[in-house]
Symmetry: C4
């Protein structure tokens, strides 16, 4: 198989995978209407596969996914890429270990983002998955690299795979698109649980040494294999 044929096969596979993963967003009640998007890096290529802009979740198919380069220029597809493509592309360009990116406006995560307040690490499942609090990224306008830069700078100063962009909502990353979707599900889960806990008092913090122990174990021991945990 020629290199090009191999890349084509990979893109076909990622179109199927990214289309299927989008169904997890409404199923987990992370999005309404056409909000939210999942992307996957095309390994070894400066390309990504992402949802087109303004298409209903019911109508998403492998064929309707689009391919862009890491400057968010359309390379393959009939439709305009998601308006958040520039942010995804910037993350892939800057963070080579990232293979998948997800953005939603999930309710509880966005509620913390609107106050510009990080979610404190008071649950063992947060320590497992995020290794500490969920950090807040800067307020940034769409239209240039501001959102991408805000995501990357915040993720670089944290163990968390999720960042809450101020007044906007969560972005999550992972080794592949599925891991990034899992992080999007988990960030809403912990944002909701900690919110509800704090409504009636102050949750008890977990000591840093215990957070470290939990995070280390979960990242190295848990599940059938990496990327398919809990």
């Amino acid at each position: 198989m020629s290199l090009t044929a191999e890349v084509d096969a990979t893109i076909r596979r990622l179109r199927v995978e990214v289309a299927a993963l989008h169904a997890e967003l409404p199923r987990n009640e992370l999005v309404v209407w056409t909000a939210g998007n999942v992307s996957a890096r095309v390994p070894g290529r400066d390309l990504l596969v992402i949802k087109p802009s303004g298409v209903s979740y019911d109508d998403l198919t492998p064929e309707s996914m689009v391919v862009t380069d890491l400057q968010a220029n359309l390379v393959e597809g009939d439709r305009a890429p998601s308006s958040d493509t520039a942010a995804h592309a910037y993350v892939y360009a800057q963070l080579p270990e990232v293979g998948g990116v997800v953005h939603t406006h999930s309710t509880y995560a966005t509620a913390w983002a609107a106050r510009g307040e990080e979610v404190p690490c008071v649950l063992t499942m947060m320590a497992d998955e995020f290794g500490g609090p969920i950090p807040i990224g800067p307020f940034a306008l769409i239209g240039d690299d501001s959102i991408g830069r805000g995501i990357v700078e915040t993720l670089r100063s944290s163990r968390s795979k999720a960042v809450l962009m101020r007044n906007h909502g969560p972005f999550t990353v992972g080794a592949d698109a599925k891991a990034a979707v899992k992080a999007a599900v988990m960030v809403e889960e912990v944002a909701r649980t900690v919110h509800i806990s704090r409504q009636l008092g102050e949750p008890i913090p977990i000591p840093q040494a215990d957070i470290d122990r939990l995070y280390d174990r979960y990242q190295n021991v848990y599940g059938q294999s990496r990327g398919e945990k809990r």
Copy 2:
């Protein structure tokens, strides 16, 4: 095709469209039992297509939709029109740019309405979609033009496509019925997210200049086409 035949074909199409859009209300958890209604203007005619009164969402079909004039008199259909028809009709009579109207009692939007408190613009998705806060309309009794007038006067003094009628619930408008349904989904989404954010502190306001920039971009650039955005 004669003018009458053309209007008949349009009405048939709108019956299908309006019946299908009603399914979005329970699907997005905006209504319970038989509450809520969607209508569409018949373009170029002083007519509208709306849900009949008191029929279960399971039983709504294109055939069960009814047609009224802009004084809410029944023109076509076997059943009484929705008891909110007068309010829809008044909006179409006064606002020629409106092609669709939706009314629900969605929980969080109605909760702000019960306090008579507008939803502040603290989320980028609110700036995109509504261009500012969601305004409150007056308390008005059903039975004459009061509700319609309250909606129209409030919408005229705002960029928002949604108004929260005091102690009652949201009404939304759009270029067509689908756009009005999208606004009904989005107004509940932002009412819920801002409510939850405020439960634990004060959300950070977005400066007016940034709201203007986001609104302008979203209304003019975003999506595959107007009316099918995000």
Copy 3:
């Protein structure tokens, strides 16, 4: 058709109707596991049709419904009647205008019940449906007529078709079982909306004269026919 044959046919019809209406309780998220029950009076007979005790919602069929007299003695059926049958039976014995009774532990209604606090009438849909606040019934133990008496005494001093039994949950009544199920759906809806509204301040009361006007209109004018409104 002999009188007995007629009663038999009515009971067969009510078994089908009551079994089908039970599906509305989980569908509207009013119950978990096997909690909750719907009953219908057998018109002209001192009998009622109700759910058996401890059967999963998935397994409810017309045949599994049971028939009791108004002292809650089993008349027809293979299983023990719902443990709440005595309360239903007492209501039918005392309130001849009631044709259906529903009991749930729906979350928000039960939350008001746990504080022993009536739900104030601050929504037009409450004025329409309940004609005022949702009243609180006394704390009562299961095992004798206490619950039934508490329901009847509370409903007699109110226009509401719903009562919140203290520390327990809502009971609703209607002209038939479907109307009582509608009231069960609506009482949770208004309990939730008013709760959420009050979380961030005080909802604005609706003047009594306006409540009266709304209630009167809704009970007499609205919908295709009585019992099938909104």
Copy 4:
């Protein structure tokens, strides 16, 4: 049938039952992604049947369930057992009357757990099912017997079939796996209802003598048979 053949038949039956019961966790919104697990004791044997680690709820089948001994060593199955198996195994080893164990991170129960605050008994359904407050277990790290010991010690000092492990989440037990799943559903239900009630004031306590009467009646009289109540 030889003893071994009998045990094999029992394990086959429990694989079917435990796989089916797992579907109740997402259905009742107690878990997201791959979180949560149900197990059953193999009667008369020091064995248990449990979910494998890190497998999606959509992919759980009787065949994918695994069997371990009461030291959590894999006895039968292709995959690693759930990472919570040691806690389940410890409970079976210490509490011979327990035939089923369930663990979730259900939102409201976990919110109380994060504050380390027991859920007070202010609902008749809590008195029925749990006989008093839902107790808090100690903070414990995964990796040795700490979680199991915390569960057992807390359950031994309470009538409750549920314990909220601090900063972690609920564990429930029952005579069989189905009863433990019911307790997992009910603990979230009461945690949610009491939380919501307390948001707007203080729920009214139920006197201990009434709790005792309700608990005694429910455990002995209610339902078609034990283990299949309400």
